[in-house]
């Protein structure tokens, strides 16, 4: 079957849910849209259940940190896929770092479980409704969120490597 065109997706969501999103242009052929936080769960559930669109596969879920964007510092990016018609889609939602809370998609996609835990581990974004939100890759005792831009890559307490020789 042919892939869904961007106009088809856009018009379908607009007719069913209204004007809840903004399209981000120039994304190398992938339909990318930004959805405000309150509409996120509704939009994704619609995309999952709708027969015409049928985005039944969550390919990827990750976070991005934009420290310069006041009020929109943390971004969660979802990649959805319609395997039957081989169409990909990207959804972004922005939250501020004072209150980084995003609704969890574990009710819709079981694969979101660990991916959200990883995003929490790296960025500190709390997913509301997640069954077991705790750190997954880093040590449990860690307090900071390492993928944020202000966290240093190297361990400052290491003894055998002198920063001077490594150009830092």
């Amino acid at each position: 079957m042919d892939p869904l065109s961007h106009d088809q997706i856009e018009s379908h969501i607009r007719t069913q849910l209204g004007d809840v999103f903004t399209i981000i242009p120039d994304s190398y052929g992938v339909f990318t849209m930004e959805v405000p936080l309150q509409q996120l769960y509704r939009v994704v559930q619609f995309l999952f259940k709708d027969e015409a669109l049928g985005f039944n596969f969550l390919t990827d879920l990750c976070g991005v940190h934009y420290p310069d964007d006041q009020g929109r510092e943390l971004c969660v990016v979802y990649h959805l896929q319609n395997m039957k018609r081989q169409t990909r889609m990207r959804i972004k939602t922005f939250v501020s770092s004072e209150k980084p809370e995003v609704p969890s998609l574990t009710g819709i996609y079981a694969s979101a479980n660990w991916m959200e835990r990883e995003t929490y581990d790296f960025y500190g974004i709390r997913f509301l409704g997640h069954p077991d939100l705790r750190r997954i890759l880093n040590m449990d005792e860690m307090v900071e969120f390492p993928m944020r831009k202000e966290f240093p890559l190297e361990d400052p307490l290491r003894e055998d490597k002198e920063d001077f020789h490594f150009g830092r």
Partner: protein, 408 residues
């Protein structure tokens, strides 16, 4: 005598009486887990009730390191994701960067890349299936078959100089043309390996003991598999013929003729057989690629540009201009446009995706690896509920969980 499926159905019955369970710790250092990850299993006698997983024992912070490194310096990192099939990771990364930069590669380069990726796929499935044999007690299969992985290492060494962590290729092609020895070694491999692989298959595929251990263990239904994000041979064993090489062809895969094998129930035996069959398809793809490479005009092994293709080493050591370009490009002075791109390749375990956000600078702003092992390993507790402990080992082995890809 009850079958495995009947025991499992009884176990999943919510009206079962409450009984005290034993806790068994499997890992992180365990001979049968290939890689370090931990499973704490709650068991009722020999039957598993539930499992809790802890990963992150080899978390090397690839994504954070990648924010510090220019594009060429990220390739050695991608090697170490699924280290059993490093060329697939390397090529996937270069394809992502080429998508961002808008590079057109010549056909011959595409065919060379296909050949190298399919060799890597053979190498990975080879390990997975022979280790599955070892986990069920068939130790000899591994020693027979591993010799042929050494032959594949010889081919890699001729192409790029390294055995395991290959760091193969450049943005736009390869660092040097395939020498005649590469073709000779590959054709020799294509002649000798099928005999050995058929022997290995005959040891296990219709072996009564192996079949008893693997049929109906670790089965997962299609809906749950899709919901858990399974891709690759694990999803194809459930019955869905989704393969990125046919669905969204990259690297001229549309010019090749090959089948996509699928299973029926998604159990361990189906995964084993699907991987076996994929090796046969890969061998056919390698042969087609060799013929296609030889049909194209010789000597073309990279896209023609100075801006992102490193000059050949002989020039760099003699010519000042080449030296300057080499330094500039390695240090990241490639004019990368700002933008975000997601590219997926069919890795040996499934859809290996690279999500690259570039802000026009020397290094990526954000690079995220969509690692198939990380996503499908979540389904493991559901796959083994109600089964026995030895089944858990066999299921873990057949899923081909590579710790480097799990934790990144």
């Amino acid at each position: 005598m009850k079958t495995n499926l009947e025991y499992r159905a009884e176990f999943l019955n919510p009206d079962m009486p409450e009984i005290p369970y034993t806790t068994l710790n499997l890992g992180p250092t365990h001979p049968a887990t290939h890689g370090i990850f931990q499973n704490v299993l709650k068991m009722d006698g020999e039957r598993i009730v539930s499992g809790e997983q802890t990963i992150g024992y080899i978390h090397r912070a690839f994504e954070k390191i990648a924010e510090r490194r220019p594009f060429y310096q990220i390739t050695p990192l991608t090697d170490r994701l699924n280290y059993c099939s490093a060329p697939i990771n390397n090529t996937g990364w270069y394809l992502t960067v080429e998508k961002l930069l808008g590079v057109k590669v010549p056909k011959r380069v595409d065919y060379m890349r296909v050949m190298v990726m399919e060799l890597a796929r053979v190498a990975d499935h080879l390990i997975c299936n022979s280790i599955l044999g070892v986990d069920t007690g068939a130790l000899t299969g591994f020693t027979y078959v591993y010799q042929y992985r050494e032959k594949i290492y010889e081919i890699y060494e001729e192409i790029c100089g390294a055995r395991l962590t290959t760091n193969m290729g450049r943005i736009g092609g390869f660092e040097r043309d395939f020498s005649p020895k590469v073709f000779e070694l590959t054709r020799k491999f294509l002649k000798e390996f099928p005999v050995v692989w058929r022997e290995f298959e005959s040891l296990l595929s219709r072996n009564r003991i192996f079949m008893d251990r693997t049929i109906d263990t670790g089965a997962i239904s299609v809906e749950r598999a899709l919901n858990y994000g399974l891709t690759g041979p694990n999803l194809r064993a459930c019955g869905i013929d989704y393969d990125i090489r046919t669905a969204e062809p990259y690297c001229s895969y549309e010019d090749f003729i090959f089948d996509v094998p699928v299973g029926t129930t998604g159990d361990t035996y189906d995964r084993f057989v699907v991987r076996n069959e994929e090796i046969w398809q890969s061998l056919s793809l390698i042969e087609q690629a060799l013929n296609k490479i030889e049909a194209e005009p010789a000597g073309v092994f990279h896209a023609d540009s100075d801006h992102y293709y490193l000059p050949p080493k002989q020039e760099v050591y003699k010519n000042m201009e080449a030296l300057i370009y080499h330094f500039k490009i390695i240090m990241g002075e490639i004019e990368a446009p700002a933008g975000e791109v997601y590219h997926a390749v069919e890795g040996a375990n499934g859809e290996l995706g690279f999500y690259l956000i570039s802000d026009g600078g020397r290094t990526p702003y954000r690079l995220h690896f969509r690692r198939p092992c990380f996503i499908y390993y979540q389904a493991f507790p559901e796959m083994v509920r109600g089964q026995m402990l030895s089944d858990a080992i066999v299921v873990m082995s057949s899923l081909n969980v590579i710790a480097g890809e799990l934790d990144a």
